[in-house]
């Protein structure tokens, strides 16, 4: 591998990514999964490739940076205010529930926490793409689904930070947890101060120079810098990148700054999923088939129940709540981000978990309307039978 010139390798990889991405679009297959599978297929050649890992890190930082730009904290909080009952239920069922399952199967605290985090979040990129492709943007449950995804976006960086912190130290003791929380708060407050007192004042500067060629340097520099600072503090680069996006959004030019960072993100992000794929070694095997089976079962059941109840609490009709529930099973990029922090043996485990749940989720998403209709008929029939007697169950 190393005999070939760097440029040739880079060019070949990018062309291969292009092919994979184009093909996945043609066949309506999520590109995230396509990259992971490609990576897993050729992991033999790329094991421990330093450059792929570097590019993947830049990609993941920019992914969260753009997320922070799109949803500044004030907007996130505003959305969360409406969605928090459903959001908390989601955390409780899918993070808490999986953590409990892993615990019962004999995992230690950190591993259980990690499995809970891997299982927690639905894939935003797949959801957005499928909602658009299947022309469901007009449906009432779409708003709810998107809002819940944003709530997850807000929780995920925190989970990742706690995990990154716990990995660095010798596990989670109350003191390390306290120090970690202080650092977390410090980094967040820092971003708010920079945002409100620094970047809001710098708005005219950004406004004047938005089209100049040095502006991508400005925005990507700040993204990588703040992410790096987070790593230096022993936190996760993902949280740092997210906060960097949040503080730059205070300039009021999120849209343009986002456009500047998007090309670089689109170049680098495939490397992340590819790299994650290469780190899955099937020959290492899965440590516990029972746990895998239980987790996948819970991945479907937990999401269905929590999203359904959450949607009812949000004020949707039961039919639309069913539809929402069956549209949120697929796990994807967040789980991969978290699994990438895991030790090698668990990475295989998580990789298979992600691919399986994503597959099931995509199937259910396509059938969501039909299933919801069927459930609705069933529910009405049951109501008719049990209606006159009592409202029980």
């Amino acid at each position: 591998m190393t005999q070939l010139p760097f440029l040739l390798i880079a060019g070949l990889i990018l062309c291969a990514f292009f092919t994979v991405s184009y093909a996945s679009q043609r066949f309506r297959f999520p590109s995230v999964l396509a990259y992971i599978l490609t990576g897993a297929a050729v992991s033999f050649w790329f094991a421990g490739n330093h450059l792929v890992h570097l590019a993947s890190e830049v990609g993941i930082v920019l992914m969260f940076f753009v997320l922070g730009l799109e949803f500044p904290l004030t907007r996130m909080v505003e959305i969360s205010r409406r969605i928090w009952p459903a959001g908390l239920l989601d955390v409780l069922f899918n993070f808490g529930g999986t953590l409990a399952i892993a615990w019962i199967f004999g995992c230690d605290g950190i591993t259980a926490f990690m499995m809970g985090s891997v299982a927690y979040a639905t894939s935003s990129s797949m959801s957005a793409k499928m909602l658009d492709e299947q022309k469901r943007l007009a449906n009432p449950e779409t708003e709810f689904i998107l809002a819940l995804l944003i709530f997850e976006d807000l929780v995920a960086p925190i989970l990742i930070s706690v995990m990154a912190g716990a990995e660095g130290g010798e596990g989670l003791t109350p003191i390390t947890l306290l120090v970690l929380m202080l650092k977390l708060v410090g980094l967040t407050v820092g971003a708010m101060v920079f945002g409100l007192y620094g970047f809001r004042r710098a708005a005219p500067f950004v406004e004047r120079h938005i089209d100049d060629d040095f502006m991508p340097l400005f925005s990507v520099g700040i993204a990588l810098g703040y992410a790096g600072l987070a790593v230096y503090l022993g936190l996760s680069e993902i949280l740092g990148a997210f906060l960097a996006g949040m503080m730059l959004s205070e300039t009021g030019r999120s849209r343009e700054l986002e456009h500047l960072s998007l090309p670089i993100r689109d170049l680098c992000l495939p490397f992340f999923f590819f790299w994650f794929g290469t780190s899955i070694r099937f020959e290492e095997g899965i440590s516990s088939l029972g746990l895998m089976f239980a987790m996948i079962l819970w991945a479907v059941l937990g999401k269905l129940v929590s999203v359904y109840v959450g949607a009812i609490l949000f004020g949707l009709s039961s039919k639309h709540s069913f539809k929402a529930a069956f549209s949120m099973v697929h796990r994807g990029e967040f789980s991969a981000v978290i699994a990438s922090l895991a030790p090698a043996s668990w990475r295989v485990f998580s990789g298979i978990y992600i691919l399986t749940t994503a597959g099931i989720g995509i199937l259910l998403f396509g059938k969501a309307s039909a299933i919801a209709k069927w459930f609705e008929v069933l529910r009405k029939r049951r109501l008719k039978i049990s209606g006159p007697r009592q409202l029980s169950g």
Partner: protein, 180 residues
């Protein structure tokens, strides 16, 4: 006609409306500029009967055609009534204006005046349907829509430091576009 709007976080904005003929339309403005129209004959249907997708430029052209920029089928007296209730005006923001260097949302323009900014002309650039986070700069020309009282209220905000100080820069040098 009642238009319901909703945010689709991460995707864009959704407008739904019922037409006089009974059709239900949903218009989606994607963040990346694409517009989509979904048509439902039954508002509760799961899937639209048909959808159209257009680029930003196509949508603007179609919008202008629909607005009657080229050919105006509405009879004269009805048009006049429309103009009486709705005015589109161009207002320049003075440096001493309370709006200058503040975000639209911070100035609470719609709550305080009722008028809506539909575009901002800044130098050679046009910012169409600006975000509430947009910062208004001195010298900007605002394209605003509202009734007479509403646009007048906003006109005052463009000139004076404080609202309700009407007689400061009384005549706007940018005239009104829509009224006679």
């Amino acid at each position: 006609m009642k238009v319901k709007t909703a945010d689709l976080p991460g995707i864009g904005k959704r407008y739904s409306l019922d037409l006089a003929e009974g059709d239900h339309l949903v218009i989606i403005l994607h963040q990346n500029g694409y517009r989509e129209i979904y048509h439902f004959s039954d508002p509760d249907a799961d899937e639209p009967d048909w959808t159209v997708k257009m680029t930003d430029e196509e949508a603007r052209q179609i919008g202008a055609i629909l607005m009657g920029a080229d050919y105006q089928p509405v009879s004269d007296d009805r048009m006049e009534m429309l103009l009486k209730s709705i005015r589109i005006e161009w207002l320049q923001v003075k440096p001493e204006s309370e709006l200058a260097n503040r975000r639209i949302i911070d100035s609470q323009i719609r709550t305080r005046t009722g008028a809506t900014i539909i575009a901002i002309k800044r130098g050679d650039r046009m910012i169409g349907s600006p975000d509430a986070q947009e910062i208004i700069l001195p010298g900007d020309v605002l394209m605003v829509v509202g009734n007479r009282m509403q646009t007048k209220g906003l006109d005052h905000m463009c000139h004076s430091c404080i609202l309700n100080m009407p007689e400061r820069g009384s005549t706007p040098d940018s005239g009104s576009a829509a009224s006679s």
